[in-house]
C-alpha cells in the first residue's frame, strides 16, 4: 500500500467508457455489453428508479459538492480477464505493481483478484482450492457460470432500495468478486482482491459476494487505492457476506482511496447459528467516507467482532462506524473502534447496537476511543444502543482525548525526539489494528504514520 501521490498512473487505452451521468440507456448498454441475463438487467433498471426517487442521506458527511451528473459510471479498461499476470496489459500491470500486488500473491495468498476501474483484469486462485470446490471468480463470470447461486444471494442483504447509494450501486455495479466456500472447507490462506481507480471523474461500483457454507473457514482481504485527481471520484461498492451455521470469516479491508474520492460504501453480513464474522477495517484514504459495516446476528450463538480504525488527516471527513443487530439468543458482539484526527481532519464514529426481544442472553461491548493530536482537528462519537429485552448485557464506552504529555516526556527523557515520541504513541494506539493486518500492509502503515508525524524511526 503505497502513498497515492507516489503512484503516477500509466495512461490506459479504454475500450469503452460510458457518458457521464445516468440514464436508462447507459444502464441498458452496460448490461448489454456484459451480456447479462434478464433478471440482472431488470434489477439494474429497478435500482435506477429507486436511485432517482431516494433523497441523499440525511446524516453523515456533506455530499452537496458531489456532482453525480459528471461522474462516469462505467469505464472498461482494454483488457480481458486474465489468469496469468503476464497476460495483463503492461500499463495496467505496472500500475498494480507499483502497489506491490503480485509479489504478495506469490508469498502468502491463496488467490488474487485485481480490478482496474470498472472491470476485473486479473483473477487467479491456487489449484488445490478449486479441487476442494472453492469458487473464486469475478462477478461477471460468476453470473454466467453459477447463475442460480448468484441469483439466490445477489443484493438480498443490501436491497437496491436500502438507500440512495445502494440504489446507485444496484444500477451501475460492475466488477467485484464472488467467493463460495463449500461446507467444512478450511481455506488455509487468505484470498485478496485489489481495487484500483485510474480514471479521473469515474465511479467504481464493485460488488463483492461471499458465501461461507456450514462449518467452513475463510479469510478475505480487500485493498483499495486510486490516483489523486483534481475532480471528484466516487466509490459506492457493496459487500454482501453470508456466514452459514458454524462458519467463520475474517474480512479485512484496507481502504486508501485517493483524497479526491467520495467513499459511500455499504457492507453487510448475515451470520447464522454459531457463525462468526471478524471485521478488520482501516479507513485512511478518501476525501469523505460514509461506511458502517453491519452484522446481522440471526442465528443462536452467532458472533461479530470488529477492530476498526479511521485515520483522518487534512481535508478528510470520515464518518464511519459499526452496526450490529442481535436477533437471536446468545449472540455476542465486540467492537474496538479507534480513530485519529490530525491536520484539520474530522473523524466521526457512528454506531448502532440493536438487541431484539428474542435475543435474550446476548452480550455486546463497544469501545471507541479517539486520539486528538492537534487543535485544528475534530473527533465525535455517537453510538446508539437499543435494547428490547432484559436478559442481555450491553455496554458502551468511549473516550476522546489527547496524547498524554507525561508519556511524551518520558519517551523524550529516554532519548527520543518529540516527533518520534508522538509517532510511537500513535502507533501504540493503533496497535490492535496493525497487528491484524497482513505484514506488507502493516509495514506500509507504520511508514505512513512516521511520515505524518515527521518521525525518523520505525
Amino acid at each position: 500500500m503505497k502513498k497515492n501521490d507516489d503512484i503516477l498512473m500509466k495512461d490506459i487505452n479504454y475500450l469503452s467508457k460510458a457518458e457521464p451521468g445516468l440514464s436508462k440507456k447507459i444502464i441498458e448498454e452496460i448490461s448489454y455489453s456484459k451480456s447479462e441475463p434478464n433478471w440482472m438487467r431488470e434489477l439494474r433498471l429497478k435500482a435506477l428508479e429507486y436511485f432517482i426517487q431516494r433523497p441523499n442521506p440525511n446524516f453523515g458527511v456533506d455530499i452537496s459538492t458531489l456532482d453525480l451528473d459528471s461522474i462516469v459510471n462505467y469505464v472498461r479498461p482494454n483488457s480481458k480477464r486474465e489468469r496469468s499476470w503476464e497476460d495483463v496489459p503492461e500499463e495496467i500491470r505496472e500500475n498494480f505493481e507499483k502497489l506491490g500486488i503480485p509479489e504478495a500473491e506469490r508469498k502468502s495468498l491463496a488467490g488474487v483478484g485485481a480490478q482496474y476501474d470498472s472491470e476485473m483484469v486479473y483473477h487467479n486462485m491456487k489449484e488445490f482450492l478449486s479441487k476442494l470446490g472453492v469458487i473464486f471468480l469475478d462477478m461477471d463470470s460468476a453470473i454466467k457460470q453459477y447463475p442460480d447461486l448468484v441469483k439466490k444471494y445477489f443484493m438480498h442483504l443490501i436491497p437496491p432500495n436500502d438507500h440512495k447509494f445502494a440504489a446507485l450501486h444496484g444500477a451501475v455495479w460492475s466488477g467485484g468478486t464472488f467467493v463460495y466456500v463449500p461446507e467444512n472447507v478450511n481455506v488455509p490462506l487468505p484470498i485478496q482482491s485489489y481495487y484500483l481507480m485510474g480514471s479521473p471523474g469515474m465511479g467504481q461500483f464493485e460488488h463483492t459476494l461471499i458465501v461461507v457454507d456450514k462449518g467452513a473457514h475463510f479469510e478475505f482481504i480487500e485493498g483499495c487505492s486510486g490516483q489523486n485527481y483534481s475532480i471528484s471520484n466516487l466509490h459506492a461498492g457493496a459487500v454482501e457476506i453470508y456466514v452459514e451455521e458454524g462458519a467463520t470469516i475474517k474480512f479485512s479491508t484496507i481502504e486508501n482511496w485517493a483524497k479526491n474520492t467520495y467513499n459511500l460504501n455499504t457492507k453487510r453480513a448475515s451470520i447464522d447459528k454459531d457463525g462468526t464474522i471478524i471485521w478488520i477495517s482501516g479507513t485512511m484514504g478518501s476525501a469523505k467516507t460514509m461506511l458502517y459495516p453491519s452484522s446481522i446476528l440471526k442465528g443462536k450463538g452467532a458472533r461479530a467482532e470488529y477492530t476498526t480504525i479511521a485515520y483522518a488527516g487534512q481535508g478528510q471527513h470520515l464518518d464511519t462506524g459499526t452496526k450490529v443487530f442481535h436477533l437471536a439468543p446468545y449472540t455476542s458482539s465486540k467492537v474496538d473502534s479507534r480513530s485519529i484526527s490530525f491536520g484539520g481532519g474530522y473523524s466521526f464514529y457512528r454506531g448502532l447496537v440493536k438487541v431484539s426481544e428474542s435475543a435474550i442472553h446476548s452480550k455486546s461491548s463497544v469501545d471507541c476511543s479517539a486520539l486528538m493530536v492537534d487543535d485544528i482537528s475534530k473527533s465525535d462519537t455517537l453510538p446508539i444502543i437499543e435494547v428490547m429485552n432484559n436478559e442481555s448485557d450491553i455496554a458502551h464506552e468511549a473516550y476522546v482525548g489527547r496524547i498524554n504529555e507525561d508519556q511524551i516526556y518520558y519517551l523524550m527523557s529516554r532519548g527520543l525526539t518529540e516527533d518520534d515520541a508522538r509517532a510511537l504513541i500513535v502507533r501504540g494506539f493503533l496497535d490492535p489494528f496493525i497487528k491484524q493486518m497482513p505484514f506488507e500492509y502493516a509495514v506500509e502503515f507504520n511508514r505512513l504514520i512516521d511520515m505524518h508525524f515527521n518521525s525518523k524511526i520505525g
Binding site: D62, M372, L382, I384, E397, A398
Partner: protein, 386 residues
C-alpha cells in the same frame, strides 16, 4: 481552514389541527406582553417524535393557575406574570432556546399560567410545588438569576394527575455563584409531561442538578447547560423509573464554551412492564474550551422482558487538550447481588426493591430535612411502583 459540515437529520414536524390561538391568551394575565412571543409560537409546527410516539397534539384549555405554588427566601421572588413587567426578568422570561423543541419552549413563554422569577443577591432558598390534580394544564415559565458570589437551593416539584404539563425554565449563574436544584416529577398518569431547562454559567460558577423522575405517560425532558465562563462546573444527576406503557425521552447536554470547564452527567434508570426509555447525553466541547474535562455515564436497569431501553450518548470534541468520556450500559440486576441479598433472608421482590432504592436514596438524602413531605412522597412513589 475549511470546516467540515456534519449532516444531521432534521426534526420532523407536523401541522396540528388543534393549536393555541390569540383567543387562548385572553384568559391569561398580561395579554400585551405575551403577544410578541405568540407571533413566534404560532408559525412553528409541532415536533414529531418517533421514539416517544408523539405525532398528535390535543389542545386543552389553559386556565389561570389555582392555588399558591412557591415560597422561600430571595432578594426578589415573584410570580412570573409579575416578572414579565420587571426589567430584571422580562428578557430572561422571553428568552428563546431549543429545550425539547422551540414549539414547546415558546408555548411556555407565551401561554404560561404559572412559574416564578427570582433574583438572588446573597443567599436564597426557593420551593416551588405545582399541583396537577387541581390544575389540569400546567404551563410553567420561570427565570432565576444568581448574582456574583451568591448561592441558592431550589426545589421544584410537579405532582398529580392532569392532562399536560409544559415547562421552560432559565437560570443565569453569575461569576462565582452556586446553584443546587432539585427537580421532582411525580405525574405518572399525566398524558404529556415536558420540561426544558437551560442554564448559563459564568466564570467559576457551580451548578448541581438532581432530577427524580416518575414521569407522565409521555415524558420529554431536556436539561442544557452552557458552560460559558472559565472554570465553570456542572454536575447533572438523574434517576428515573418508568412502568406500564410509559415512554420517557431524556436529554442532558453539556456545552463547553470556555477553558477549564468541568461537566458530569450521571443517570440511572429503572424500567418495568412495557416501559420505554431513551437517554441522550450530549457533550460538546468547542475549540475555545481548552483543558476541559467532561464525562457522562448512564445505566438502565431493565426489569422486564417487554421493556425497551435506548441510549444515545454523543461526544463532539473540537479541542485536543481535553478529556471527554462516556459510558452507557443496559442490563438486568446482577445475579450475584440478588443471590447475596436472598441468602440474607430477603425474598426476591424485597431484594429488587432494595437495589432499586439504592438508586433513589442518595437523591432523597440530598433533599434537606425541611422537605419531609417531598421526601416521603418520593419514597411512597417508589414503593407503590415496585
Amino acid at each position: 481552514m475549511k470546516m467540515f459540515v456534519r449532516v444531521e437529520p432534521e426534526t420532523k414536524t407536523f401541522e396540528s389541527f388543534e393549536d393555541y390561538t390569540m383567543e387562548d391568551l385572553k384568559f391569561l394575565d398580561d395579554y400585551e406582553n405575551r403577544k410578541e412571543n405568540f407571533l413566534k409560537y404560532t408559525v412553528l409546527d409541532f415536533p414529531k417524535w418517533k421514539r416517544l410516539e408523539f405525532s398528535e397534539f390535543k389542545k386543552v384549555p389553559i386556565e389561570k393557575y389555582d392555588g399558591e405554588f412557591f415560597d422561600g427566601d430571595a432578594s426578589v421572588l415573584v410570580k412570573s406574570v409579575e416578572g414579565l413587567k420587571d426589567r430584571r426578568f422580562a428578557d430572561l422570561l422571553s428568552k428563546e432556546f431549543n429545550g425539547i423543541h422551540p414549539k414547546f419552549t415558546l408555548m411556555a413563554s407565551t401561554f404560561f399560567n404559572t412559574g416564578f422569577s427570582a433574583l438572588i443577591s446573597n443567599s436564597g432558598k426557593i420551593k416551588a410545588t405545582y399541583d396537577l390534580d387541581k390544575n389540569n394544564v400546567i404551563i410553567e415559565n420561570s427565570a432565576v438569576k444568581l448574582e456574583a458570589n451568591t448561592d441558592a437551593t431550589i426545589i421544584r416539584s410537579i405532582h398529580g394527575h392532569g392532562t399536560m404539563s409544559v415547562s421552560a425554565s432559565k437560570f443565569i449563574l453569575e461569576p462565582g455563584s452556586k446553584l443546587k436544584i432539585f427537580n421532582v416529577m411525580i405525574a405518572p398518569k399525566t398524558p404529556l409531561s415536558t420540561s426544558s431547562t437551560v442554564y448559563f454559567l459564568d466564570d467559576d460558577s457551580e451548578l448541581e442538578v438532581y432530577d427524580v423522575i416518575f414521569g407522565g405517560q409521555k415524558t420529554a425532558i431536556d436539561q442544557t447547560v452552557n458552560l460559558n465562563g472559565r472554570g465553570a462546573k456542572a454536575t447533572l444527576k438523574a434517576v428515573y423509573l418508568s412502568r406500564g406503557k410509559e415512554r420517557i425521552d431524556l436529554r442532558y447536554a453539556l456545552n463547553h464554551f470556555a477553558p477549564g470547564t468541568y461537566g458530569r452527567i450521571f443517570a440511572n434508570g429503572v424500567l418495568m412492564d412495557e416501559a420505554y426509555s431513551v437517554f441522550r447525553g450530549n457533550i460538546e466541547i468547542k475549540k475555545e474550551a481548552s483543558n476541559s474535562d467532561s464525562e457522562e455515564k448512564s445505566f438502565v436497569l431493565n426489569l422486564s422482558k417487554k421493556s425497551r431501553a435506548d441510549s444515545i450518548p454523543g461526544l463532539f470534541v473540537d479541542n485536543s487538550t481535553v478529556t471527554a468520556k462516556h459510558g452507557a450500559s443496559v442490563g438486568n440486576i446482577d445475579e450475584d447481588k440478588l443471590y447475596y441479598l436472598m441468602s440474607r433472608g430477603l425474598d426476591e421482590r424485597s431484594a429488587i426493591k432494595l437495589i432499586v432504592s439504592g438508586f433513589f436514596n442518595p437523591f432523597i438524602e440530598k433533599i434537606s430535612q425541611d422537605n419531609v413531605e417531598l421526601k416521603g412522597e418520593i419514597e411512597d412513589a417508589l414503593s407503590i411502583r415496585i
